[in-house]
Symmetry: D2
Subunit: 282 residues, 4 copies
């Protein structure tokens, strides 16, 4: 908690002795008080760290980052980024017919719980214009057909070119590899199964057919391979023989909106790092 | 609860009006008080019921079952079975190196919580002879190699030919289709993943590789197709990036033994019916 | 599932042999097909049942209920009620400043998932008029002070005199015993702790002070004794030392809205019976 | 994971800028590589940290600890302790009639999962001598009556005077304040409710009476006030109207043994710090 603005440093590099002391020493010498540290070393020899410290004054950021690059970033072969908590991230949401995830994101955003700024909503259906515009957000209806897919994706790209995160809140069209390459922000999708079970279409129908006793949802970063991106959050609820497909769909809505919200909030709070195809969620 | 002995009738048939009244009327006319009813009709038009009632006196069982067959079982094309709670089911357990499920079953049995009688333990390793024999149960070490698999399975069959349930409590050999056909009792297996994810070998390694945020276990009836039998019980626990494969294996042990115990206890309490490849667990 | 209208009979009476057969026989003789039965006998000797059957035609209901009263209800000393699924229950919601439960109920209602008809929203704050009126519902702002409490409660009573259920969706004023006596419908409240822990005000503050590792929510029928009414649904989420009171409040919102929704939906589906101070939720 | 021996430094002190850098710098200057850091600052202004680093060679420990005291421990008013992972903690368990927690601890210990060394078992009943002695542990039967309580507690004290942890694994006698003062090690108790609900005797009976929909268990450090010590771990399972007291007791066993094991393992792994009446579990 606490509302004082902070700077967050996320980094990954080959593991070696002294990394924590080296980085925390650098910050101490720079007069910056560390308020939070999370770190993790993998069995495969990679080191990950999230450090939160007093906000670096705007006038000193460039100098500090330059010095960090020279003294630590480059010698230790680090991937890293500095984030300012005071710079609220801009978020676009895409949705199709089912609006439970969208409604949930809108409610969290209105309630100042989201940790980011919703700036636009895009849908391939016109249904949700009302509730989006009622809270003062622009709503863009872009229908997608096999014929216009290219043009539609270009239009979408132009609408999200300045966002920090794209959230697929039950957007049921598959985005093309070209779209993902052109997209300048990460995208988080909610899939309505506990992946890797039931990749692809109609997971609740297949869950019913298989007779599982749990149904779940998975929030993951979007990659070119369908439903195979790094998983950020997952959860399940019990079901039994009384639950038919329509019940699973209804129960699933509550899981999906919570799991998606958890993943989006963790991302916006700069808590998620990538370790190959896996995530580290500090 | 309650310790008065009961008779349990499990039945399945094509759904049609009047089934509940017909069966409960039959029992009432026979002077039997119904103490518990569970029933379920599927969207596919099949009807399932479990009725528990005062125990039918041993001398009247044949007559009653004959009358039931004629008046109800045959006309309604029912699959059904009468079970006496006073006839405690006999259970054999098979195990390989990991003993957490075996230890758990032994503890529940000693503690009168299992709802059945453990009568024998079979293993392809000698390791657990001590703890099994310490509680007064026979332990059979039958090593299995590609060369002796046929003979080993015949030997196992001869040891379990009078049991009501075979429990594969982390038995890591695949039983042949011939064995399953010859086996006179149902078999319940515990698989260390939330099926249908991670069918087959090394599910925790694959869960780690995929970066899932939940690991689970599945208890299912054994069929010829690997890990594809009807699911009786499933559960999961959260994991995160700190959990390596060995941690998943350790956390998984607690899920596996609970899920297997739940499935075995439900089966022994005559609560599980088959609906094609799915189960109904009343 | 299935959408054919049904009649639901809920009953409670002293336990005795033959009850299930007697009631199901009565329905069969009346030409009514039973589609669902749930029953429970308590250790204290009370019998509870919920039977769902083909809808009784409107013109025959009075005669059927009269016959049921004479032949079964009176002789067996039953408390019972017939409910028609086709008669959708009317629901009023009351709310104070926190709108997460209200927003959730509104969303489920708009989405046809609630199983009842929201007809009015009453609040002691004006804040939520906008979102309520935006979905076409009347919003009544009735501020409550120590001085005007009597008059305010009378005004509320006049607004809810024709509803079937009153939902206190985080309404933070204590309703008087007089109000509850005058209220013609049951009321369900959501309390933000796993009762009986943390009865009364500020449960999250007290949960934080006590250092619990779980926080929860409880939906219960409202009785004159604060937070002591029969519990319908409860759930919890893990917390740890990083979670301060504000985090608990935020995490708690997700538990509260789910637990309240579960309880309200069970009640509207005629699944909840009272067994003294406890509930039976079929 | 990883088996290289480590030193673990646990510390608590008034929060102030520079603490992380100061301690990590001290370790770096001492040539010790930090492999794990967890830290937490409370809203009340207290700072807690757990640092795991290369094991300090035995011959250098005294000098290092002296230097740490002078340069950091005293100036920063720290409470702190150095623990060597190579020094396995000694654990005594006490138990009454119910053996599910004891059996579980014995199984984890035999399986090398406990993270400590069970050295003795004490009981006020003779029942469990067999299973304890079968795994090679001493079993002490010390019956406790109102008359001999003083003498019995003295005898127990003499048996546990060299252990690092005393585990009350469903030991149903209340230990006196004198005993707790004389005890040189911390004690962890498992209480069979989700505290603070149902403090004291017969929690499952009272849970049944109240009609709760969840039952739980709580592992906490033992203090003079009954069931009021700092909570280390808690969990719950759902129950419903079908579950009578005996069912709750049976279901509760599985929760109790898991919750106690989690707390004991966290303590033995030096992950638990005290923040007044609360715990921090890193």
């Amino acid at each position: 908690m606490g509302d004082a603005p902070t700077t967050r440093l996320l980094l990954a590099c080959p593991d070696q002795p002294g990394l924590i002391a080296r980085v925390s020493g650098f910050l101490a010498e720079s007069g910056l008080n560390i308020v939070d540290v999370d770190q993790h070393s993998t069995a495969e020899g990679r080191f990950f760290m999230r450090m939160v410290f007093d906000q670096v004054p705007a006038t000193e950021r460039d100098a500090l980052e330059l010095r960090f690059a020279k003294e630590i970033g480059e010698p230790f072969e680090m991937d890293y980024a500095f984030h300012q908590s005071s710079r609220v991230k801009r978020v676009a949401a895409m949705v199709s017919r089912e609006d439970h995830c969208l409604s949930d994101l809108l409610w969290r955003w209105r309630n100042d719980d989201l940790g980011g700024e919703l700036v636009t909503v895009i849908s391939n259906h016109p249904d949700h214009a009302g509730q989006v515009e009622a809270v003062g957000l622009p709503f863009h209806h872009i229908s997608v057909t096999p014929e216009n897919k290219d043009a539609a994706e270009k239009q979408i790209l132009s609408l999200v070119d300045d966002v920090d995160l794209l959230v697929l809140a039950r957007y049921m069209q598959i985005l093309s590899e070209d779209f993902l390459h052109a997209l300048s922000a990460p995208a988080i999708n909610i899939h309505h199964s506990f992946l890797p079970a039931f990749v692809g279409a109609d997971p609740y129908h297949r869950a019913y057919e298989r007779g599982v006793k749990l149904i779940g949802a998975t929030a993951h970063y979007v990659t070119a391979e369908l439903d195979a991106g790094p998983i950020i959050a997952q959860d399940v609820e019990p079901v039994d023989h009384r639950d038919e497909v329509t019940d699973m769909i209804r129960i699933g809505r509550d899981i999906e909106r919570l799991v998606l919200a958890r993943a989006v909030m963790a991302h916006l709070d700069d808590r998620v790092l990538l370790d190959g195809d896996r995530t580290i969620v500090f």
